[in-house]
């Protein structure tokens, strides 16, 4: 049965936000990914965000077992996965119940009516069937008995058990959505051919169901209309859709190749950082040494050892893991070894919200070690630029002989977006500081005059045998020294070394306005949300609102203060309780920093930001 509340005319639209939701086992991630990739191939700009439960196999039909995938596609620039939905595809009552809040009034829901059984309704804590009790009258509800139609479509395919048949109903839904938005099915059919190479009946089955959904939507003409979303205007080049964590991993691959070093990863599984480990273990063909250690501490410890031995060494983690690595990070810092620590931030404190996003590890990254222990801290801002910042983190670590903390977060790490592929040939050089030259009176704390980075003499180099360690070193010989003045000299030197990185990083730039009434400041993974909000308010005539987004936190760009002076008011927007605002206050006295903070495990929405900006300028 299919009912529609109204009939609309076909239209050309700029962008659409779709969320596919269902049971953990309903294949929503795959459905979403297929729609995303097909749309990217078509030329749309895209941004996605998966939302799945922290339970691996939550009970079927339960509210907390709902898995979702949100995709935002457009013919215009897309910088976030979108706030509110234009289309909700709900494969069961629990999915409908937990996601309806996000759907714009008057917009469309596609449901599989077969899943709205008494049992499933109870599990979703519905007392009456929402498809029958008029509670959805503010939406266009397309009711499709998807499971039955899938079974019907597959009755002639041999060798399929009941489970495989039911499981392919997600492709029916995908077929319908493909028709609605005029997408080509071929990419997905090619995907089946590749994925089920050795199981021809599954290729046939999935293709049939996808087509059945597509034709169902088309030939019965019961879906109100087909939308058209033209290709977006993007810079020419070869693209691919990439997830933030994959981009991070690839940035390190590129840095290793560019620097001529082997890549060593020491890591311990932790959500949401583990996908970087998953990605890098695949790349033995590039000589990547990925070592899954017994704990977070051994993860960083092995990386420190590998760094001493001459590899490009990294360790990947999330908040609680960074806490465990703190002591070892201090060791790498005092030994002045190159090391990259990736912290894919999640909701804290303690175990907190492991699958949700937050920016609350900034102060931990800055100060979470004993003693005076400055390191470089940088943050990536989008899924695609995780590549650039992983590369940059490696370059800074190797050229300045220091640990670098790279902050990403669950939102950009799991989100995906088009990435204009960067050939390694086009990336900047990385000049690491390995030395083989035996000179008289050489000592390990010989420093470059400009950067203060020390030499990197690795084991195997005759004549440069030396010892380093966690005890304070004599500033000249590198031998253990407890001398009072020496300690102060060394402490200041290590701080100065980080401070001088200012001379090697880009200046901060503004978007939308160079000066004016309000400067919106953000850092890290909120770029998309903030950019999109400032763009929107700008379009509403607020042309004196500028936007500056920080990727370099320690040290801050040289021109930061000068930038702050150009605006009447400043607001710092963060997914924490004001950590970057604190850092700015410490560094720049005499400015008033307004704050917009959100600590819900969720990204900023456009409207909440815009409301805040208007309060300050109206």
């Amino acid at each position: 049965m299919i009912t529609t509340k109204e009939t609309l005319q076909p239209e050309v639209i700029e962008a659409v936000v779709i969320r596919f939701v269902g049971d953990s086992g309903d294949g929503m991630q795959l459905t979403g990914t297929q729609f995303t990739d097909t749309s990217a191939m078509f030329g749309n700009d895209i941004a996605t965000f998966p939302n799945y439960p922290s339970e691996i196999r939550a009970p079927q039909g339960s509210l907390y077992g709902v898995s979702g995938f949100q995709v935002h596609i457009g013919s215009v620039e897309i910088s976030t996965p979108g706030d509110n939905l234009d289309l909700l595809v709900a494969m069961n009552p629990a999915g409908l119940k937990t996601n309806l809040y996000a759907l714009k009034p008057g917009h469309t829901i596609i449901v599989d009516t077969d899943a709205f059984s008494k049992k499933n309704l109870e599990k979703a804590q519905y007392t009456t069937n929402p498809l029958e009790d008029n509670s959805l009258e503010n939406y266009r509800v397309i009711q499709v008995d998807m499971t039955s139609l899938t079974k019907e479509a597959l009755k002639e395919v041999e060798g399929l058990d009941n489970k495989s048949i039911t499981r392919s109903k997600n492709m029916f839904a995908l077929g319908m959505v493909y028709w609605m938005y005029g997408r080509d099915r071929q990419y997905t059919i090619d995907f089946f051919n590749k994925k089920f190479k050795s199981k021809p009946n599954l290729i046939e089955a999935n293709t049939k169901v996808l087509n059945a959904g597509y034709y169902f939507a088309e030939t019965l003409e019961l879906i109100p209309n087909a939308y058209t979303i033209s290709p977006a205007k993007m810079n020419p080049g070869i693209y691919r859709v990439i997830m933030g964590n994959t981009a991070t991993a690839w940035g390190f691959l590129a840095a290793a190749e560019k620097s001529g070093l082997e890549l060593f990863l020491g890591s311990y599984p932790i959500t949401p950082a583990t996908d970087i480990l998953h990605e890098l273990v695949k790349h033995k063909h590039f000589g990547v040494k990925a070592f899954q250690a017994e704990d977070e501490i051994a993860g960083i410890a092995s990386a420190i050892g590998a760094s001493f031995a001459g590899d490009l060494a990294i360790t990947t983690t999330s908040g609680p893991g960074l806490a465990l690595k703190g002591e070892a990070l201090g060791l790498a810092m005092i030994m002045e070894l190159p090391l990259v620590v990736v912290n894919v931030q999640r909701g804290g404190p303690s175990t907190g919200l492991p699958t949700k996003t937050e920016q609350s590890d900034l102060l931990q990254a800055m100060y979470g070690r004993n003693g005076e222990s400055p390191v470089i801290v940088i943050a990536a801002s989008t899924p695609a630029d995780c590549f650039r910042f992983a590369f940059e983190a490696s370059k800074l670590a190797l050229e300045h002989m220091t640990p670098v903390i790279l902050l990403t977060d669950g939102y950009i790490a799991n989100g995906s977006a088009p990435w204009k592929i960067q050939s390694v040939d086009d990336l900047p050089e990385i000049k690491h500081r390995k030395t083989k030259e035996v000179i008289e009176n050489w000592h390990p704390y010989n420093r470059d005059e400009k950067t203060l980075a020390r030499d990197w003499a690795i084991p195997g180099t005759a004549g440069l045998e030396h010892r380093v360690g966690g005890l304070e070193k004599d500033s000249l010989t590198g031998n253990v020294s407890q001398a009072p003045e020496n300690h102060e000299i060394m402490t200041r030197t290590r701080a100065e070394k980080i401070e001088r990185v200012k001379n090697y990083i880009p200046e901060i730039k503004t978007e939308f306005a160079d000066s004016g009434d309000l400067l919106v400041i953000g850092w890290g993974g909120t770029y998309g949300s903030l950019h999109s909000a400032v763009k929107q308010i700008n379009g509403e005539g607020y042309t004196k609102i500028g936007f500056a987004h920080f990727n370099y936190i320690n040290p801050l760009p040289k021109n930061t203060e000068e930038l702050l002076k150009r605006f009447k008011k400043i607001i710092v927007c963060e997914l924490n309780d004001g950590q970057f605002a604190k850092i700015l206050r410490i560094n720049f006295e005499g400015f008033k920093f307004y704050q917009k903070n959100k600590i819900q495990g969720l990204p900023f929405g456009n409207n909440e930001l815009i409301a805040e900006f208007k309060k300050l300028v109206d």
């Binding site: 000589g287 040494k289 031995a309 592929i421 045998e465 010892r467 380093v468 360690g469």
Partner: protein, 337 residues
């Protein structure tokens, strides 16, 4: 053609310019000099040797060795050394650690490094006390032992390092007194030759906080009667008169006297250090009289880096990716014009 003669080192080549700062009379001096004497016999280049340590008296070791060295943080030397070795398998990597460093704060790393069997060498300075923090009980201190943190006697039962190590899968375990420099030198050479993680426990006297802790076993006048020095393929025989030995009685080791009750040397157990099954090795490390020293276990097994290397070669041979660009531009890409 004769190979180019390698530079022959002496112990002086491995002695750094740093003043050694252990307490006078400490066994650590013996271990240090034994190590400096062992290295020239190993045929490794000085620049290929790396010493890694954690925290504690023993962990000052790298500073005194004229090789590459890292003095790191408490308990973490196994992790750091693993990284060094995996980054460059050509290096000879050594860990100097103590009972607290290895089995208390670093216990997790200690068992896992043994499990993995990376080709590293661990020298465990066991003095049954915390020295550097001035005299608290350690995980090998005895029940009843009075220390600064157990003034009425220690109530925590100890680990036997060998038992823990074998339980964690150690392929090579040796034990030696801290007062027998030649034997220490030899066992370190054997540990170096062994391919895989080798652990050498040195029964090391702490003259300040636990003086005499092993004297009833290691003193020159008693050691032959109180220790059984095991050698692979040789009968388990000991005693000043070489008249005592070990036999198996049921599931227990039993000390017998040659010549008594018709026992001859042929009746004694023969030490098989290379046996895969560690059951006998476990019985030997637990033995309180006599205390087993020498190489108790030396089971040849594949090392982690050999496995990794084989896999890497295989993946490389079958991969179409030679450069990262091959990966980046492969698969689902599209062009925007």
């Amino acid at each position: 053609m004769e190979a180019i003669t390698e530079q022959k080192y002496t112990f002086k080549d491995f002695t750094s310019d740093q003043e050694v700062r252990w307490c006078p009379g400490c066994d650590d001096y013996v271990i240090l000099r034994s190590m400096q004497k062992a290295l020239p016999e190993m045929g490794v280049k000085r620049e290929d040797v790396v010493f890694v340590s954690g925290i504690g008296c023993s962990s000052r070791f790298p500073y005194y060795m004229n090789t590459y060295g890292m003095h790191t943080i408490h308990g973490r030397a196994p992790g750091i050394a693993s990284g060094v070795k995996l980054a460059n398998p050509n290096l000879s990597v050594w860990i100097a650690t103590g009972d607290g460093d290895a089995m208390a704060i670093g216990g997790n790393h200690f068992i896992h490094v043994l499990r993995r069997n990376i080709d590293l060498n661990i020298i465990l300075f066991n003095n049954e006390i915390y020295g550097l923090t001035k005299g608290q009980f350690s995980p090998t201190s005895l029940v009843g032992q009075k220390t600064k943190s157990s003034p009425y006697g220690n109530t925590q039962p100890p680990f036997t390092p060998g038992e823990l190590a074998l339980g964690a899968g150690a392929r090579f375990f040796g034990r030696i007194g801290g007062n027998v420099p030649k034997d220490i030198t030899q066992i370190l050479i054997d540990a170096h030759k062994f391919k895989g993680t080798s652990l050498v426990e040195v029964l090391q006297n702490c003259v300040i906080f636990n003086d005499g802790c092993f004297s009833s076993i290691t003193n020159k006048d008693v050691k032959e009667d109180k220790q059984i020095f095991l050698e692979h393929g040789k009968p388990m025989i000991f005693g000043k008169e070489r008249d005592k030995g070990l036999v198996l009685n049921g599931l227990k080791l039993e000390v017998v006297t040659i010549g008594e009750n018709g026992i001859t040397q042929e009746d004694l157990l023969v030490h098989d250090a290379k046996e895969k099954d560690p059951t006998m090795h476990q019985m030997l490390v637990r033995l309180e009289y006599p205390v087993a020293t020498g190489i108790i276990r030396s089971f040849d097994d594949v090392t982690l880096e050999e496995r990794e290397d084989a896999l890497t070669k295989q993946v490389k041979a079958n991969s179409k990716f030679k450069k990262t660009d091959d990966l980046f531009f492969a698969g689902e890409t599209y062009e925007v014009k």
